[in-house]
Symmetry: C2
Subunit: 391 residues, 2 copies
Amino acid sequence: MKPIAEAEFALRRERLLEHVRAHGLTGGVLFDDRYVQYFTGFGFLATERPVAFAVNVAGEMAVFVPEFEVDRVRAETAFERVESYPEYPGLEHPMRIFARVLADMGIAAAGADQDGYPGILGYAGPALSEVTGVAVVGVAPFVESLMVRKSPAEVELIRESARWCEAAHRLLQQYSVPGATEAEASLHAGHEATLAMLAAIGHTGQQSSSDGVSAGYRGQIGQRSSWAHAVAHDIEFKAGDLLVTETSAPIWGYHAELERGMVIGPPSDEMRRLFDHTVAAQQVAFDAFRPGATCADIDDAVLRYFEANDLLGNWRQHVGHGIGLRNHEAPFLDIGDHTPIEPGMVLTIEPGVYASDLGGFRHSDTVVVIEDGIEILTDYPRDLESLTIPA
Amino acid sequence: MKPIAEAEFALRRERLLEHVRAHGLTGGVLFDDRYVQYFTGFGFLATERPVAFAVNVAGEMAVFVPEFEVDRVRAETAFERVESYPEYPGLEHPMRIFARVLADMGIAAAGADQDGYPGILGYAGPALSEVTGVAVVGVAPFVESLMVRKSPAEVELIRESARWCEAAHRLLQQYSVPGATEAEASLHAGHEATLAMLAAIGHTGQQSSSDGVSAGYRGQIGQRSSWAHAVAHDIEFKAGDLLVTETSAPIWGYHAELERGMVIGPPSDEMRRLFDHTVAAQQVAFDAFRPGATCADIDDAVLRYFEANDLLGNWRQHVGHGIGLRNHEAPFLDIGDHTPIEPGMVLTIEPGVYASDLGGFRHSDTVVVIEDGIEILTDYPRDLESLTIPA
């Protein structure tokens, strides 16, 4: 699997520059690690040491990093101009040094994703507008709007991610047996799936040596499966448990999402009823992708299904969210998001049906919007028989 | 291992309230997930769905969460007042709903960690000051200053984290043999160490079922070990490799850090020279913790060691950083940080010695400052013999 090609990064930067020029600005500045990756492919560990990307209206680029990153940046990226500072906080604040780089590039009034480096991990420093003396125009909403529609190359990376989510989920299902714990099942599944992925397609942009494929639970086991964002408790699986899974397998940074509701042992009638509604509600969402629909329309269709089936007491969350370089991103399949659905959008479809006293089910699939509907990128059984684990 | 006791959270909140009252404000508002955890113990998955904590000058508290978190918050926390919104973005923006909660609590002019929920994962929304109509006073620097000195209970959690970093590192060293890959070694080590930790001390606040202990590499293998923040490449170990490791084992959210420089096969004279300087530079830092020293003094002492030994060309990074609920935090052992060293600070001590053409070494240990120096919390060999892996 190849990463995004340099030509595509150049096109993305050109669109950013068009936006910057149209607003009468002299350049663009990005601090967010995902935005830098989106426009350049440069991946780095975001810490309290500022990293920034700058491009002026002539298209000249610079990356700004701590000095210890310079050798790596020269070896692993195509940046011609690599600017650095000795350390953070250092004798002179890195933002002051960065201001001189911007001045040298002719960047005064800048379109920036934020007015300075974000305050992560104890970082503190002056705003960009303070060190340049010029107010900043925010470009984050524009960048987010670019990221919403995925290119064919991006869809291929997400499709590959989906394959490894599927592989990991098969292992997770196999290891989630009564007497095993959520930690045992997920560690086994992630460990095996990651090594299988590396053997099959090699390194695909992982930061740490154990990064790769994961499949597991975030506490949604037994009655806790009714908590859409539970947390782990090292729970031991037992017959009668409802389960909601999660998976992840970033490929050159791009994510698919695959989640399944499952049950251990023969489902009760009530479990079967909730499960059938989960599958049906997801189908309602799939079918709601018609030309001219908005994100809100998809969520509204599912809400009407809940209402028509007397399930509003079992409703907890909207239908889904955008996904790409981040595991959640805009737009949101929510009655409050009126973004028109457009080809190239990649979204999760994951209505859940929850009962506080019993537990809940949620199937999440990742889809790409095409001209006349959607293509489902995650290929994994959705039926109760396939998702029943022998007790 | 018990989490931080409720009485300690109450004391922390009281210090926040003293600060808020001293500034003539009517309450405190926190959006950052680690800050919420610091003052309340409440752990949650921070996403595009806003979560906030509010406390008024009378000490009345509320947590503000998406509706699907309410059941869990009632079951797993002691919050009496749990306020919620249906979904994000929703028909009414959650920040507008939150503004009514604040008004009901009598909070107008607030001390807040930031002016609204941060723009993570596609979140967008109005500033806190916009929805309340009152300017916000930033309290993040004050909160950071509180977090710098750890309580005895915090130090015990970090000490326990150190034990599991040590256990994982022993496994990592055992699995890092020629012919194995960085992924294989780190996945094996993390898998085994996590299950051993859960068996020994049980659940300690992990969010996902596979969270626990990790030990591995971030690309610092062979010549790449000279890149202080490299990234993984699924590298196969071979004789002659220099290695720099990393470990992590959060216990109720608290981190220690243990890293070691290692070598596969008999070290060359040059490797031995760099290694000996790494150990000596770390000892210089240990010895520099004297009453009255500042963070800058520690870094300066090590810089003078580099200078005296003609090693400035091998210098890449400052001595270390604070550590606690985040794996990096203020203060920084850097010539630019003039924070006085005080008992209760927990810091990493990790000068590295790097040669671009050969590789680098870095030992990172976690220490707590005591009245007359430091106590080293991470107990792992530092000598070359112990850290040489048979080729």
